[in-house]
């Protein structure tokens, strides 16, 4: 009996060590791929940072109306954000290559599904980018127009329009990414409806004064002592 137990132990140990030996080259390849990708990422990040600094990317981005990107960026520098993003992408690619070396079958499936998902990610990023630009543009248009029309709630109106577009954009991006489609649609509907209601209330409350003044002007005759609109600009 002791002999059989010893044989069974020997066999399982052999199996384990064989499996480990089979796995070891893959693990070494994974570690090597990781180290190489880190090195390549570091070099690329340096190159990208030099190029963008020479191009005055941070200043130009502010001038193009993306000043808020600096707030999200490490050390308030969009250049660093871009260079670190490039580095992260290179490291992820290295990890995927290393994983493929460990176990070809299961990691190949994983790599395939990740690469199949990349177009969705790119589409979502594009939608987010365009949506953000449009949201900022519309928000600013509404802000300036509302201020010129003497709306006290101009900022609220502008923020409402901007967030309306951003919510729509995020919902579209999440749909692209196929993340919780049902919940996202419901949440989007509720949020969108809420923002529209808030905007309608804001416009209605502001218009109350305008309507009152307009009706007052209709019923009350102009006095000769006050000139209401004497100004001609051209």
């Amino acid at each position: 009996m002791w002999y059989q137990a010893k044989v069974a132990l020997d066999e399982s140990a052999t199996k384990f060590l064989t499996g480990l030996a089979r796995l070891l080259p893959g693990v070494v390849a994974l570690v090597a791929a990781l180290l190489i990708s880190i090195l390549v990422a570091w070099i690329l990040a340096k190159i990208v940072r030099r190029m963008l600094s020479g191009f005055h990317f941070d200043d130009k981005l502010t001038r193009w109306g993306f000043a808020s990107l600096a707030d999200w960026s490490p050390l308030n520098s969009p250049t660093r954000l871009v260079s670190r993003t490039v580095a992260a992408l290179v490291i992820i690619a290295g990890v995927l290559i290393g994983l493929a070396a460990v176990d070809v079958e299961s990691t190949t499936l994983l790599v395939r599904s990740i690469f199949a998902y990349i177009p969705n990610v790119l589409g979502a990023i594009l939608v987010l980018f365009i949506g953000t630009v449009v949201a900022r543009f519309l928000g600013r248009s509404v802000l300036i127009g509302a201020v010129n029309m003497n709306f006290q709630y101009a900022r609220l109106l502008s923020a409402g329009v901007k967030w309306l577009v951003i919510v729509l954009t995020v919902a579209m991006a999440l749909e692209h990414l196929r993340i919780g489609p049902g919940i996202v649609q419901l949440a989007f509907g509720i949020l969108f409806g809420g923002i529209v209601l808030a905007l309608a209330l804001s416009v209605g409350l502001n218009s109350k004064e305008l309507v009152t003044k307009s009706l007052d002007r209709e019923t009350r005759p102009n006095t000769s002592e006050t000139i209401e609109e004497p100004f001609h600009h051209l």
């Binding site: 200043d59 600013r140 029309m149 003497n150 101009a154 000139i227 600009h233 051209l234």
Partner: protein, 423 residues
């Protein structure tokens, strides 16, 4: 029954007319009886030049009876007086939408007709009959024909609160940049010689399609001044402002100042060389400014400025330096009775906006619309000072112009080296 005012027929009529000494383009909405009154006055023009009056057609369609009536009247006129002809002229407005663009297109159309008729000069009448008389048109034409002037602008007798955009920005800026004191550089009633309108047509032909259509009206005076053409102005009567379909002051700023600022970029090499300003030859007797009676309520304008100072600070901060923003904050805290926007501050604000327009710091339309609350502040300040009786309108306008001239070195240095100071 409606018939097409056939463009080919109009072209034929122009070819039949052959040549003309003068072309008068009437782009204002004046009815037939008004046209006849104007035409009667032109018959007495000294030297009896051959005059062609182009009457704007609002569309290519006219009622059949009117078209026939016009043809009959035209034939009778032709028989009566061979030196004067009235032709309907359908304007090709193209993509023009705002009133400024429409007037620009109308001008270009009149220039094209003048070129076809080989006219020595042309005159554009864009004001309504309440103010325009036949003598007015003769006054615009006389310097062109008898004194060999190239560009003659009308100097209107305005009321205190008329032409505010012209008084606050257009006139001081043109005077400061080009060194000539033309009170209404953007007309709209102008007299232009053959030399100048041919140059303007050539400039339009060389510029990018779609771009030039907006800039015509703003470019007449600068083209004349930079091209060393002979420039003058004529004192005419009061001009009645016709009600326009401006949505708000923001739209007005965008449609009027946009072309002006673009033209500044084009003529940068010209205006950077001029220093100070000199008056241009004037014709006719100066007419005094007509004063409004009654008090003016500036509270709403001050409120608009305060709202702008609160909500548009982020946008103004991209255009104006911190010192200017600080001054504006101080101004926003003043009561309406003490509200005063200093002229030098106003001049620097306009210069900074012009520079931001050139650098495309933000979307140009947004930039110009965001200037509206600051313009309201100027108007409020102007109205308050006039109301207080401390100064006259002429003195105020002159002070603004002098402030622009004094601030020109600041503007030139910012224009040449915009990165030296970047708010």
């Amino acid at each position: 029954m409606e018939v097409d005012l056939d463009r080919e027929k109009v072209q034929e009529k122009i070819e039949q007319t052959g040549k003309a000494d003068l072309v008068v383009g009437i782009v204002a909405d004046i009815d037939q009886s008004g046209i006849e009154i104007l035409v009667e006055g032109l018959r007495d023009f000294p030297g009896a030049p051959h005059i062609v009056v182009l009457q704007k057609g609002n569309s290519t369609k006219q009622s059949a009876t009117t078209a026939e009536g016009n043809d009959q009247d035209a034939a009778e006129d032709a028989a009566k007086d061979a030196s004067l002809a009235v032709l309907p002229w359908p304007l090709e407005l193209g993509a023009a939408e705002t009133p400024v663009e429409i007037i620009s297109e109308a001008y270009r159309s009149v220039f094209a007709a003048s070129d076809k008729l080989e006219a020595r000069a042309c005159c554009i009448v864009a004001s309504t009959l309440e103010s325009v008389t036949s003598q007015w048109i003769c006054q615009l034409l006389r310097p062109l024909l008898q004194e060999d002037f190239d560009f003659v602008a009308a100097h209107y007798a305005r009321r205190t609160f008329e032409g505010l955009l012209n008084n606050s920005i257009i006139y001081p800026l043109t005077r400061c940049l080009y060194g000539k004191r033309i009170y209404n550089p953007m007309g709209p009633d102008l007299g232009i010689s053959r030399r100048l309108y041919q140059k303007l047509l050539a400039t339009n032909g060389n510029s990018r399609p779609g771009n030039s259509r907006v800039h015509a009206l703003a470019s007449f005076a600068p083209t004349a001044l930079c091209g060393n053409f002979k420039v003058g102005q004529v004192h005419v009567g009061a001009r009645v402002d016709t009600p326009t379909d401006w949505m708000n002051v923001g739209s007005l700023m965008s449609s009027v100042l946009g072309p002006l600022f673009v033209d500044m970029e084009v003529n940068a090499s010209c205006w950077q060389r001029t220093r100070g300003s000199i008056p241009v030859p004037e014709f006719g007797s100066p007419l005094p400014v007509l004063h409004e009676t009654g008090r003016v309520d500036i509270g709403r304008m001050v409120e608009t400025f305060r709202l702008g100072n609160r909500d548009l600070r982020e946008i103004w901060g991209m255009v104006l330096p911190p010192a200017t923003l600080f001054e504006l904050s101080k101004l926003a805290r003043l009561a309406p009775e003490q509200f005063r926007l200093p002229e030098d501050l106003w001049a620097r604000i306009i210069f900074d906006f012009a520079l931001a327009h050139r650098l495309r710091t933000i979307n140009r339309d947004h930039l110009l619309r965001s200037l509206a609350p600051l313009y309201m502040a100027w108007v409020a300040s102007y109205a308050r000072e006039l109301d207080a009786g401390a100064t006259s309108a002429e003195q105020m306008i002159d002070r603004v112009a002098l402030a622009f001239e004094a601030g020109k070195p600041y503007f030139i240095s910012r224009w040449r080296w915009p990165d030296r100071f970047n708010p």
